[in-house]
């Protein structure tokens, strides 16, 4: 079963939920945790350990100056500005290239071939018994986050329990993360901003046909607006994490509440059971 932990906005507690859920599952038969927030991966901070690194290459054009007639077709086709055709050569801006392969198709003289270029890496580690952590890390200045997300998902495989930690927002990398998943846990807080962004995330999941449920984080016990939103959108509230000193103290020192506070490991295990039950209802 593959589930995504997402949130409309950053800082709502998405990583908290992913890390604690993975900790509880690691102690109950194993889990693969995939950090798909490739621009700012941080799950490895909760689970340090030796990792194995693998590059993520994407195809980019290489131009054969012998064959190129400087006709300009590739430069006019490229909407990302990666190719500029000068009087005597073609200039290539690698970091602007989206690897669409269009330049290869439009070149009338067969001067374009594709070569691999590394835009990120995927790190795989086994920091705890029962836990495999796969982190996608995009190189600085790169734009192809979805390619790194896809490579991280591929490295994690299809077997067993898989938890994908998505990046904040609902942009392309999140869509790539949601694609092919069985369920989406949306983490939110009961604030106007939180709900506005939750609304966007709910629509993204619905558009991809992924069923969703909500975890309310930093609850002050007055969650009427969030609860109303959830009932209006037919979203189950799967868990509520209170805003209290004990929880905050563990979080502040980078700890896991499932490991450091009594009762929470069980609560996260129950969260998984609840999600699994809902996936079966759908199937």
């Amino acid at each position: 079963m593959k589930i995504v932990v997402a949130s409309g906005k950053g800082g709502t507690g998405k990583t908290t939920v992913s890390a604690n859920l993975a900790y509880a599952l690691a102690r109950r038969g194993g889990v693969t945790l995939v950090d798909c927030d490739v621009e700012e991966p941080n799950l490895h901070l909760f689970f340090p350990g030796e990792s194995e690194e693998k590059g993520v290459p994407v195809p980019v054009p290489a131009i054969d100056p012998e064959r190129c007639t400087l006709c300009g077709e590739c430069g006019h086709f490229c909407r990302y500005g990666a190719l500029t055709v000068l009087k005597d050569r073609v200039l290539f801006f690698a970091e602007l290239c989206h690897s669409c392969g269009g330049c290869l198709l439009v070149c009338p003289s067969g001067a374009v071939t594709e070569v691999g270029r590394e835009v990120g890496v995927v790190n795989t580690s086994h920091p705890l018994p029962g836990l495999t952590l796969v982190s996608g890390v995009m190189h600085e200045g790169e734009v192809l986050a979805p390619k790194v997300v896809a490579a991280a998902k591929e490295a994690a495989g299809e077997e067993g329990r898989i938890v994908y930690d998505a990046s904040p927002g609902v942009a392309c990398p999140v869509i790539e993360t949601l694609e092919g998943s069985d369920f989406c846990i949306l983490v939110t807080e009961s604030t106007p901003f939180g709900l506005h962004d939750l609304d966007l995330a709910v629509r993204a999941a619905a558009a991809l046909g992924v069923p969703a449920g909500v975890v309310i984080n930093r609850s002050d016990g007055e969650d009427e607006t969030a609860l109303t939103f959830c009932s209006e959108h037919d979203l189950p509230v799967l868990m509520t994490i209170p805003f209290d000193r004990g929880v905050a103290a563990v979080q502040n020192r980078g700890g896991l509440i499932a490991r450091d506070l009594p009762g929470w490991e069980e609560r996260f295990a129950e969260l998984w059971v609840e999600v699994a039950r809902r996936c079966e209802v759908r199937a």
């Binding site: 300009g72 500005g81 990666a82 500029t84 000068l86 801006f93 602007l96």
Partner: protein, 111 residues
């Protein structure tokens, strides 16, 4: 010689535009013939890569000099590789004024 000036509108009397890649118009002045050709910039609202793509427009029109306000890194790389000299139009308010200042040698080279 073809000189390109970034502008907010069409023609020699248009106000200059300090941005390069997102300038609404590129005015190509043929200094030998004394003519001005105004080209609408299709990239004003493009998502990205406007610097090199605008440089491509200049190459296609045969410009060897650019008068503008400021440049991004990729635009600078492309213009430099294309051998196009770039000058800041300083205090000039219109396209004609910027061209006049350039021919008088009053503009400072920024690339």
């Amino acid at each position: 010689m073809i000189v390109c000036i970034t502008a907010k509108g069409e023609g020699a009397e248009a106000a200059v535009e300090p941005r390069f890649g997102r300038a609404p118009y590129f005015i190509f002045a043929d200094t030998d013939a004394g003519t001005f050709v105004s080209v609408k910039n299709e990239l004003v609202d493009a998502a990205g890569g406007v610097g090199p793509r605008s440089a491509q427009v200049l190459v296609d029109h045969g410009a060897t000099v650019l008068l503008t306000g400021q440049l991004g890194g990729n635009a600078a790389t492309a213009l430099k590789a294309a051998g196009i000299k770039v000058y800041s139009f300083g205090n000039a308010a219109t396209v004609a004024q910027a061209l006049e200042d350039y021919t008088q040698g009053d503009l400072s080279e920024i690339l």
